[in-house]
């Protein structure tokens, strides 16, 4: 409402000036803070005396509450423990030929011959690599978590669709569930349920529920009015209308939700290995990474990747409804027959074959020592290259961003020191650039450049926090309104009061850099793909694979080549977060209104002019959604990236997990969620405002 009102207010021009004034004021405050920082150090480092023992408070409460409710939860845990063990035992008991037959039949039904072959090959790899029991363990957790998430998600989705009052609360809850890193709620779960795989299961179920809720709501909301009315005019009762008209019509969307839920469950099951549990594939990857056995970690990482792609394609195939002709010949009844046959085969094999004949000894992993040697050799031989890349980026990009150009420009790092003359030149260059941008594209660009210059100068860690909070508040106010501004300011202040000022700055810097690089690289790839079908065809399967992969997998190559450290975390985050800009930029550019592009081309614009003046501005809302997704992905990767050694909020969560410090874990986790939600609201408000103006 406020946006719409602001956009159509006639006194638009005077408001612009007001905004410029406000930004100049904020920049002046920042400069003042920087000037005073030697005299008033509390402007830069948030004073320790001011912090509140929020985490300790939460711990005190949880210490009081947990013993009271623990028996109930432990009983629940025991209740879930039994079916989990049973399913795992059954799956591991199943001889591999039977599983292969069943998976091949399912894959054939879902996606035809190619998927069936892929399924058999993937399973064969797991077998040969020697990770069969572990894969089946992981699968058993997924098989248990998915029905829980699906049922709960469907129920919540229907409630959200039916009751308009439930919906906002539900959406807020979903936002939290999807943005608080899973590590953070693992801690209270551990306290309540005790150690063991059940916690992993429950965490997976929580993490995997939101997509089901969202897609159920979306599907039901999108049932066309004509279909609804046709159902009513056919004389449907309320129940008939719901089950026979609305649900079947919404079914494709609901199945997409089921696919996403399954993938989320798989991702989480693997991450949950971090708290131990039983022999599953996530644990294999983690322990081999800890032991720096790259051979094993690649072998087991590949198992995860194959498992993810296989499950994704099968569920997606069912969601789309197998339309190819060969798949349709396999009717539901025939599929059941094949599945029954595989069970029969399983029993027969078990009865007539000796135990050892069924699984190859230790598989490839036993011989992985050779691979390890070879990989270590490669890393050693090309160490100069990897170290060069790493140090180059570290010293020219990461360090200045963290501690500021003034801090990085020392003889030890850059070979020269920061002199007042250099400072003057720096200021002059940025001022001139800002003025030029302001004259050419509008004052917003000039202000953006100045703010960038300030951050580059002081670094994220050295930036005076009052100015930072002011910037954040002002940005939120200008884009959305007073509500979001209040949310931003209060959130940042609370995080600082909780004593997390430095991790917050580190998170912002790491995520910010990852997002900027992803948008630049991914955006360029997206533009390229939009103009070349070949590039698009090459990129699509890569993007598909990257998006299917559980977050954990991205750590393996990054860690292997670049060792522990911030740069490795950056690479892992970027690998995970680069897909949305590629996809959204390509999609946005390809679906720009054709009539506008034709009109611009007809006026004699060059392809570059068409891109810059017509296509990109028109595609901007879509691109912005892509950037939003990138930010979400980067933030969600923070907690995982903490495993390779960072100093941001994710690390706080991870450390808290190790110490079972529920308070710190929750506060740091909520901080990440806050950043994600703030970024999301900012992006959405921005897109909405643009649409209103357009």
């Amino acid at each position: 409402m406020t946006n719409a009102a602001a956009a159509i207010r006639p006194a638009w021009r005077s408001r612009v000036d007001l905004g410029l004034l406000a930004w100049c004021g904020a920049i002046a405050v920042a400069l003042l803070c920087l000037a005073l920082k030697t005299r008033l150090p509390w402007l830069v480092t948030f004073p320790k005396d001011w912090t509140l023992p929020i985490a300790a408070g939460i711990n005190a409460i949880s210490d009081a509450v947990v013993p009271l409710v623990q028996p109930t939860f432990r009983a629940f845990s025991a209740l879930l423990d039994w079916p989990m063990r049973a399913i795992r035992a059954r799956l591991v008991w199943l001889p591999w030929p039977a599983v292969m037959l069943a998976v091949a039949a399912l894959a054939f039904k879902a996606g035809g011959m190619r998927l069936a072959v892929f399924g058999v090959l993937a399973l064969a790899y797991m077998l040969v690599a020697g990770y069969w029991p572990q894969s089946m363990s992981t699968l058993s957790l997924v098989i248990l978590a998915v029905p829980i998430s699906t049922a709960v998600g469907f129920g919540l989705g229907v409630q959200g669709y039916r009751h308009n009052r439930v919906k906002p609360a539900l959406t807020a809850l979903l936002d939290l569930m999807q943005t608080v890193p899973a590590f953070a709620y693992l801690i209270p779960l551990l306290l309540l349920f005790g150690f063991g795989p059940v916690v992993g299961l429950i965490a997976s179920a929580i993490f995997a529920t939101p997509p089901m809720v969202r897609n159920t709501m979306l599907g039901l909301e999108r049932v066309p009015e004509a279909i609804r009315e046709a159902g009513l005019m056919s004389g449907c009762t309320g129940r008939q209308q719901f089950w026979r008209v609305e649900i079947p019509t919404a079914q494709p969307q609901i199945l997409v939700g089921f696919n996403q839920t399954t993938m989320a469950a798989l991702s989480m099951v693997i991450v949950a290995a971090i708290i131990g549990g039983f022999e599953d594939i996530g644990w294999e990857v983690l322990s081999s990474m800890r032991k720096a056995e790259f051979g094993q970690s690649i072998l087991s990482g590949l198992v995860i990747a194959l498992l993810a792609i296989l499950i994704d394609r099968i569920t997606l195939g069912f969601a789309r409804g197998g339309n190819d002709s060969p798949a349709r010949r396999l009717t539901g009844r025939r599929l059941l027959v094949v599945l029954a046959l595989s069970v029969f085969l399983a029993v027969a094999l078990r009865l007539f074959l000796p135990e050892g004949a069924l699984l190859p000894g230790s598989g490839l992993r036993g011989q992985a020592g050779f691979v390890n040697q070879w990989l270590l050799g490669v890393v050693r031989d090309y160490g100069w290259l990897f170290d060069g890349i790493r140090n180059g980026v570290l010293y020219s990009l990461l360090l200045p961003l963290r501690i500021g150009i003034a801090g990085a420009a020392t003889p030890a790092i850059w070979g020269f020191s920061w002199t007042p003359a250099l400072g003057l030149a720096y200021t002059a260059a940025f001022l001139a650039g800002a003025l030029w941008l302001a004259g050419r594209f509008g004052w917003r660009w000039g202000v953006a450049l100045l703010v960038t210059g300030l951050f580059l100068y002081a670094g994220f860690v050295g930036f005076p926090w009052p100015a930072f909070v002011l910037f954040a508040g002002l940005l939120a106010y200008r884009v959305s309104g007073a509500g979001l501004a209040l949310f931003a300011v209060a959130g940042f202040l609370l995080i600082m009061l909780a004593g997390l000022a430095t991790p917050l700055a580190m998170s912002l810097y790491l995520c910010g850099l990852a997002v900027v690089l992803c948008v630049l690289i991914g955006g360029a790839l997206g533009v390229w793909a939009a103009h070349s079908d070949t590039v698009s065809h090459i990129l699509r399967p890569i993007c598909d694979a990257l998006q299917t992969m559980p977050q954990f997998v991205f750590l393996i190559p990054a860690l292997m080549f670049f060792k522990v450290g911030e740069f490795t975390a950056l690479i892992a985050i970027m690998l995970y977060a680069i897909v949305p800009p590629i996809r959204y930029v390509e999609h946005g550019l390809r679906h720009v209104r054709a009539d506008v592009v034709e009109a611009v081309e007809q006026m004699g614009a060059t392809p570059t002019q068409t891109l810059l003046n017509a296509k990109l501005p028109l595609a901007l809302p879509v691109v912005m959604l892509g950037i939003n997704q990138t930010i979400m992905a980067a933030l969600s990767m923070l907690a995982i990236a903490a495993l390779v050694g960072t100093r941001e909020l994710g690390q706080q969560v991870y450390v808290a997990l190790g110490k079972a410090d529920a308070g710190m874990g929750l506060v740091a986790g909520l901080s990440i969620a806050f950043l994600a939600i703030l970024a999301d609201r900012l992006a959405q408000a921005w897109v909405k405002r643009r649409e209103v103006v357009a």
Partner: protein
Amino acid sequence: MADMAPAKLSCRNVWKVFGRRPGYYFDSRGYVIDPNVLAERLRAEAHLPAVVDASFDVMAGEIFVIMGLSGSGKSTLVRCLSRLVEPSAGEILLDGRDLLKVSAKELIELRRHAMGMVFQNFGLLPHLDVLGNVAFPLKIQGKPARERETRAREMIALVGLEGRETSYPHQLSGGQQQRVGIARSLAVGPELWFLDEPFSALDPLIRRQMQDEFLRLQKMLKKTIVFITHDIAEAFRLADRLAIMRAGRIVQIGRPADIVLNPADDYVAEFTEDVPLLSVIRAGDLASTSKETMPLAAPVRRDACLEELVPRLAAGEKVFPLEGDPSMPASVLFAADILAALERDSARRVRS
């Protein structure tokens, strides 16, 4: 005509108002307020009067067309008739029984047996094939599978879709999809048939075919029809009687010829400007009784449109006897009357 056939469906002072509290304006205090004044007040107070005081009768077996531009309230009005949209005030009488007073359960029964509806965007269920879609209303009633299928196949044959029974909606063209919609709406054998812009989403050529098809079906089935359209040519082509709506009000009700010959106001006049008079006005519309001796010329059907008389008119005939009941006074059509009507029409065109 109105006094001969009974009204099947009657609409009495029906209002539909969207807004925060439409009920507030329709308390039954019993005083009468001018509808236009009330509509103005509603608009001023942030309400949207979509249907304003609509009253009309639909006779058994006639095609009653409601025509108006988009946003004139015609789709809301037809939804009030089936209570897909709950009217804010008024009465809707089906065979003399007020539909607005029946319970939810009775309403479902009425929809199951007495009403069929066709939608502009077809409203076909995407997960059912043609046979399943046509049989859907029967399935909802719990009819046995064999009966469902027989009936559905009959309906599919009726609309000429034999051979496409196992196709899914997304495999059909727009025209074919609407044939399925028509078959489905007729499957339960309703007496009342609502069609909400059924052909508006189709290409002009297909639309024309579907209109012919519709007239053929109606000749066989003799349903009581309420047909919504924004297409003036379609309205005049299909209607036995038609109502023109503007901003929620019905501005004129009448036979097509009445409306073009005596438009109620400038709006209707302008609206109907392009209607081809020769094909809308029928011989009976301009007839006068004659005491003179019958001329020997060949008699003309009462419902023949003037177009058919043009050759004879050009050949110089001055008087056309009308076919008719021998007991009634003989009526004739004077060439002069035809020419006068045409002249008035062209004069109107030149003026505007």
